[in-house]
Structures are given as C-alpha cells and as structure tokens.
Amino acid sequence: MSRPLDLGINQIKNLLIKMGQLADETLELALQGFFEKQDTYVRTKAWSNTILILAEEVEDRATELLALHQPMATDLRTLKAYIKIAYDLERYGRYAMDISDIMNRLGAWEKLEDEEVFKKLADSSKKCVDISIETIRSMNEKLIWELSKIEAETDILYLEALKILSDVDAPSKTVVAYLLTIRYLERIADHSSYVSEAISYAVTGKRIALR
C-alpha cells in the first residue's frame, strides 16, 4: 500500500520531468536560433519563465511534504535532491534563454566559417541534459558514470572552442557571441552533473562529486 508521502514525492518527480523536458526544448530552440541566426528570445524567455514557476512549485510542494510528513532516510534524501534539482533545471532554462538573448543584446554578428567544434559542444551539452533527465525519470544512479564521461568531453570541447576563439581572426561581436554561448553550454553541462549527483545521493545515500 502506498503512503500519502509516496503520492507527493511522485507528483514532484513528475513536475521535475516536465521541467526537464521543457528545459531540453528550450535549449534546442536556443541553439537552433544561435546557429541559424533566428530570433528565439520571446519563446525561450516564456518557456524559461514557465520552468521557473514549476521550480517554485517543486519547492513549495517539497516544503509542504517536509512539514506535514517529516520524512526520513530515502524519503528525506529524495526531497532534498528534488529541491536541488529544481534549481539546476531552472538554470538549464535560464542559460538557454541567455543564449537567445545574445542576439537581442549584440544585434546580428558574422558566423564563423568553421563551427564544427561549437556544434559538437552544443550536442555534448544537450546530451548531458538528456541523460540527467533520464536519471530523474529512472532514478538510475548508475547513469552518473555515463554522464560523467560526456561531461568530461564537454569540458574538453569547451577548452578547444575557447582556444579557437582566442586565436580566430573575427569581429569582436562574433567572438563575444560565441564566447558567451560556449560558456553557457559549459555551465549547463555542469548543472547536469549536479542533477545526477543529487539522484545518486537520493538513491544510495552516498555523496559523489563529479566536479
């Protein structure tokens, strides 16, 4: 027989999955806007704001469960993890919106001729987001190791992209646009690590730091 607390925890989990899916779509749209030079800011902002509202709802519901049920052990760890994850997912949405905002702030810029490393970095960051969402869905803490590998690759690609930007002969507006974008992508990948660390802690009780 399931406990009332189980119902509440499941509701929060479903909210997180919804947030994750929306954050994934927001990032997809932001990257499409960046590489295809489309203005996606209005939509990414709206979606990011929705994620923010959902994050607040997660926090409220988790606080309510803490107050009403005074959970212990796995229940307590899970709620702690969910509150933390809500923040990380909110950051995905915010960074995606920030990528879209670059065009607003800088106006049009010239594309770099060779975007291969930048696109690889975008793919890699997005893969990190996808795995982190799958980790929430499945509560499979073992995915942390798969994510760790891809996050490490993301870091390498970030440094590679940074090197390209420091050497490239391009207008400063172009460099700034790419620089901001790769920074946001690297941060998103970092937050995906935090998500999987939180799930691992909820499931096993052991703290693992991929950072």
Binding site: R3, M72, A73, L76
Partner: protein, 269 residues
C-alpha cells in the same frame, strides 16, 4: 533475520573503564520465562551525550533501558545473561549492590508520577532515604535539583504546595528534578514526553540538552522526530535485537539496514 550491526563505537575493542564508554552491553540476553526478549545486545553508550532507543512496540527498548538500573530484577520470571558495564564495572556480577547501582541511575517514566506530597518533599525524598543531607544541606539539594530541571523559578515560592497541583509538564520536570536529587551519573527516560503537549515537550527536550552536559542520558521514544531532534546516537531495535546503532544523523538520513529504513519511513511498525 538479517543480522547486521553498524555499531558506532568499537565494542570489540572495549576496555573496561575507558572514559567515554559509560554503559557497555556485551552479549546481553534477557528472558521473561521462556520468552527471549533481548538478544545478544552489544552496544556502548558514550558519556555526556543523549542516546535514543527506538523501535516498534514490544521490540524490547524499555526492557533494555531497565537493564541499566537493574529494574528488571523485580520481575520474578526475568533472567539476564551477559554483561553490562557502567564505568567499566559489570553491574550483573554477583557481589554488586543493586541499590548502589540504582543510586547512580535516575529514571523518568512515561507518565509523570509525583508522590502525593509537597514539591519540596518530592525532591527531598531520595536524599533523605539515602541519608545524603539534612537541614540547609537538604534545602540546597532541593534548590539545585529544581534548578537542574529548569523548574526552580516556577515553584520557588510554593515549595510546600502539593506536587499534584502542578501542570503535566511541570510534574514531569519535577520527576526529573527528583531523579537528579540523588546525584546520579545516568538519566534514563522512558517516553518522557508522550503524555505532554508540544510546549511542555519542548521544555523537556531543552532540558535534556542541558542535562547531557553533566549526565549521560538514555532515552526511549516512539517519536522519531524527537529522537532526531535531541539525540546524538540512536539504536533501532526490532524483535529484541539492536538492528542498527549509529549516529542519529546517519540513522535518520542514511540508514544502512533495510529494516531501519522501512521503520523510519513508515513502511512497517
């Protein structure tokens, strides 16, 4: 049943008299007639902390508590095997004076049970019985005991009033003061707040935190949140066994044993 000890202290390496181990159970077993109530208890309770025993009804936690002052001796069908050391001295040895043991251990019960006497006489009863003091010396013991139980300010002007006229929370603090009056080392508390309202409970819990500065406090509680709030170490008991004994933080946040996890998350019990 899975036997899986996670003992916070090095029980195997126990050396009688080691300062921080106040109460040490070694292979302690207890029977009521044919009923094997406590099974192979091996834990060490540190001095000057609060240790909580928790577990479902009938798991043996109160019986375990009563072993510490040999209160189970008064039950005819009770039989104890194994060792229980207080400050390195085995209190179940043949030549031990049970009354001396009980002088060192104060007990507070579930329901406040003041004597139908004045507030003063309730506290003075034990010291008089043990011929500890009289006159001004006795007055000082009463005052200090009531101060120690955070009750002095509330009753100092009416020490001759009946103790039965106090509120439930005050009566329980009076019982704590009575326990302190004989100058024990150890305070045992068996569900001390279960009959009290939240305000009185909060006062007793604050008092427990103060008491541990000078006493070793052992608490039996059904209230998981209370154990989590006040104790440093917690033992989870089930069917007469200590299933897990660890820091309270670990027990409530990250228990190692599935039975503990199931109990504290309300999946059984």
């Amino acid at each position: 049943m899975e036997r899986n000890y996670y003992v916070g202290q090095d029980v195997q390496g126990f050396i009688p008299g080691r300062a921080q181990d106040k109460v040490v159970f070694r292979e302690l077993n207890l029977w009521y007639g044919d009923n094997h109530v406590l099974k192979d208890i091996n834990i060490a309770i540190k001095s000057n902390i609060i240790t909580a025993f928790m577990g479902p009804s009938g798991c043996g936690k109160s019986t375990l508590l009563r072993c510490i002052d040999r209160m189970n001796d008064i039950i005819e069908i009770c039989r104890v095997e194994g060792d229980l050391y207080i400050d390195g001295k085995n209190i179940y040895e043949n030549n031990v004076d049970v009354y001396e043991v009980r002088k060192r251990v104060g007990m507070v019960f579930q329901k406040p049970n003041p004597f139908p006497k004045s507030i003063y006489d309730n506290i003075a009863y034990g010291p008089k019985l043990h011929k500890m003091a009289k006159g001004e010396g006795l007055d000082k013991i009463v005052e200090n005991s009531l101060l120690g139980a955070a009750l002095w300010e509330e009753v100092k002007d009416r020490l001759d009033d009946s103790a039965l006229g106090l509120s439930g929370g005050q009566q329980q603090r009076l019982c704590i003061a009575r326990a302190l009056s004989i100058n024990p080392d150890i305070i045992l508390m068996d569900e001390p707040c279960s009959a009290l309202d939240p305000i009185a409970t909060q006062k007793i819990e604050s008092l427990m935190r103060q008491l541990k500065e000078n006493y070793t406090v052992v608490l039996v509680t059904h209230n998981l949140q209370q154990a989590a709030r006040v104790s440093e170490m917690t033992a989870f008991m089930y069917l007469g066994e200590v299933i897990e004994f660890d820091s309270t933080k670990d027990i409530f946040e990250n228990p190692k044993n599935q039975l503990t996890e199931n109990y504290i998350t309300g999946k059984f019990g």
